[in-house]
């Protein structure tokens, strides 16, 4: 498996695309720093960008790489390599490449800015962690979509659709729902619904670090009790990990049953 991961990783690197992706985050983070010297503001802006771009790019690259490596996969299937290693290895290769790319691109400017000396180090770690988890989650979803759909246009369309759904539409419906049923006690529902959308979950993880003061004003102090504690934090992280594991096990399931 390690060989496959390494190969898939190297393949992405050779396409030089990763440099651009890293470069993009470098430029973005760097520019944010230049515009504002306030670390926490940079973190907020970066969070907005991350929650929106990481899932999109990861989805598209998951789809992309799956389609692009079909030939490669067929070659490997005749070699003495376990099937799951082939597919999971490819997936882990992309996901890790994306995660590292993101980590370097977003992390280097922060380190240069002396984050280690500031009190924001914890907020920053949560931000990076979320970005990494989202990279893993959404590249798995993309890879899965491509594995299921042989029609490439449909695969890509679905990926964009999934992104639109989770990044915008989901929250829209959620908001409407909350407004609609505002006569009912919704604190727990609100948290429950959030859990089903990894982007929301990641956002709240960061929010808990950044906007505690505002969140503390929330009725019923549900946040306090649920997410504000380290238990809640752990739970949120766990759910994110589940989000990453679920599509991966689907990939595994499907890959073990597919004919080539």
């Amino acid at each position: 498996m390690l060989r496959i991961i390494r190969y898939s990783f190297a393949d992405l690197i050779r396409s030089r695309w990763l440099y651009f992706y890293t470069g993009f985050y470098l430029v973005l983070t760097g520019a944010l720093f230049l515009i504002s010297a306030d670390l926490s503001k940079v973190i907020v802006s970066l969070m907005n960008a991350i929650l929106f771009i990481v899932p999109l790019v990861a989805l598209l690259f998951g789809v992309m790489v799956q389609y692009n490596t079909r030939e490669f996969t067929e070659l490997l299937l005749a070699q003495p390599i376990p099937r799951r290693s082939i597919f999971l290895g490819q997936y882990l290769g992309i996901a890790t490449a994306l995660a590292i790319s993101f980590l370097l691109g977003a992390g280097i400017p922060f380190i240069l800015s002396g984050i280690f000396l500031s009190g924001e180090i914890w907020n920053f770690s949560i931000l990076l962690l979320s970005g990494i988890l989202l990279s893993y989650i959404f590249s798995a979803l993309g890879y899965l979509l491509a594995l299921i759909n042989d029609n490439r246009i449909r695969g890509f369309g679905l990926a964009i659709l999934v992104w639109l759904l989770l990044a915008v539409v989901y929250d829209g419906l959620f908001l409407l729902g909350l407004a609609w049923f505002s006569d009912y006690p919704l604190e727990n529902v609100a948290i429950g619904v959030t859990v089903f959308n990894p982007i929301d979950l990641a956002r709240i993880l960061i929010l808990l670090k950044l906007d505690v003061s505002a969140l503390m004003g929330y009725t019923g102090a549900v946040f306090n009790k649920f997410l504000g504690t380290s238990l809640g934090m752990g739970l949120a992280l766990t759910i994110l990990v589940v989000w990453a594991v679920l599509p991966v096990s689907m990939i595994r399931y499907i890959s073990l049953r597919k004919d080539f």
């Binding site: 060989r3 079909r70 490669f72 299937l77 005749a78 003495p80």
Partner: protein, 262 residues
């Protein structure tokens, strides 16, 4: 070495293999013949675990084949339709496949034998049809494995390469390997095959020596013999349709009596 028990495989509503029992135990060259779409490639792929049968079992070296695929260390496989990552260079592809298999490889010698030195730095997408097939052959034959499975190995090869290939195949037989080859070129079958398996609509209609086949159809030319087999239309498979019943007799090399009506 390789035992297939009652293999069934459908793609959607299309039944491609309908109860195939086969055994390959003795060294030698078996030609798997049959018209287009009869299921030859599907059969070979299911030995490789690339196609997963709906029913039946495949044993390799006495053990059922599994998804871990370690048994594939002992098999070299040449796919019929070779799909390569088109951007890769030949050298990179060979090195890559080598890196996934920690067995000693004879790629250098094969590259020399097929005269591929000059294209090593070409992208696979830019190769000519025959050159592509040569690369495909190098990738397949570079390991010393007891089983070699070749699906249409001659496609697009020029006469010189063809001669080379035949030499390699004969050498492999002499080394005591088990070879499974599909081809539509009967002269090749005649030249090489120790055993012929004839597949039609997912069933085996003949399994025996080439001479036996000619005898049965009373036709000295193998090509015509096969054509006769097909056009005659009075065929009966040598295995029962009923999947639940045991195969009449365990196939073993070429001892089975084909039950052809003609």
């Amino acid at each position: 070495m390789i035992h297939l028990h009652h293999i069934h495989k459908s793609f959607g509503r299309l039944e491609v293999l309908r109860g195939v029992d086969l055994a390959f135990d003795r060294p030698g060259i078996t030609a798997v013949l049959g018209p287009n779409g009869s299921g030859k490639s599907t059969l070979l792929k299911s030995i490789l675990g690339m196609v997963l049968p709906d029913q039946g079992e495949i044993h390799f070296n006495g053990k059922p084949i599994d998804n871990l695929g370690q048994y594939r260390k002992d098999i070299s496989y040449l796919p019929q339709i070779a799909r390569f990552p088109e951007n890769l260079r030949v050298r990179e592809l060979i090195r890559m496949i080598e890196s996934f298999r920690s067995q000693p490889s004879q790629s250098a010698e094969l590259i020399h034998q097929f005269g591929l030195e000059s294209v090593l730095d070409s992208q696979l997408g830019h190769l000519s049809g025959g050159t592509r097939q040569k690369v495909n052959l190098v990738l397949t034959l570079m390991y010393d494995t007891p089983v070699i499975i070749l699906d249409e190995p001659t496609a697009g090869l020029d006469p010189v390469a063809m001669v080379k290939l035949k030499e390699l195949i004969i050498q492999a037989r002499e080394d005591g390997k088990i070879l499974l080859i599909t081809t539509h070129i009967m002269s090749l079958v005649e030249e090489l095959a120790d055993r012929v398996v004839f597949l039609l609509e997912g069933r085996i209609y003949f399994d025996g020596k080439p001479d036996e086949l000619k005898q049965r159809v009373d036709e000295p030319n193998l090509e015509k013999a096969i054509a006769n087999l097909l056009s005659g239309g009075h065929l009966t498979p040598i295995q029962p349709l009923d999947a639940s019943s045991k195969p009449i007799k365990k196939m073993n090399g070429n001892v089975v009596q084909p039950q052809l009506k003609y």
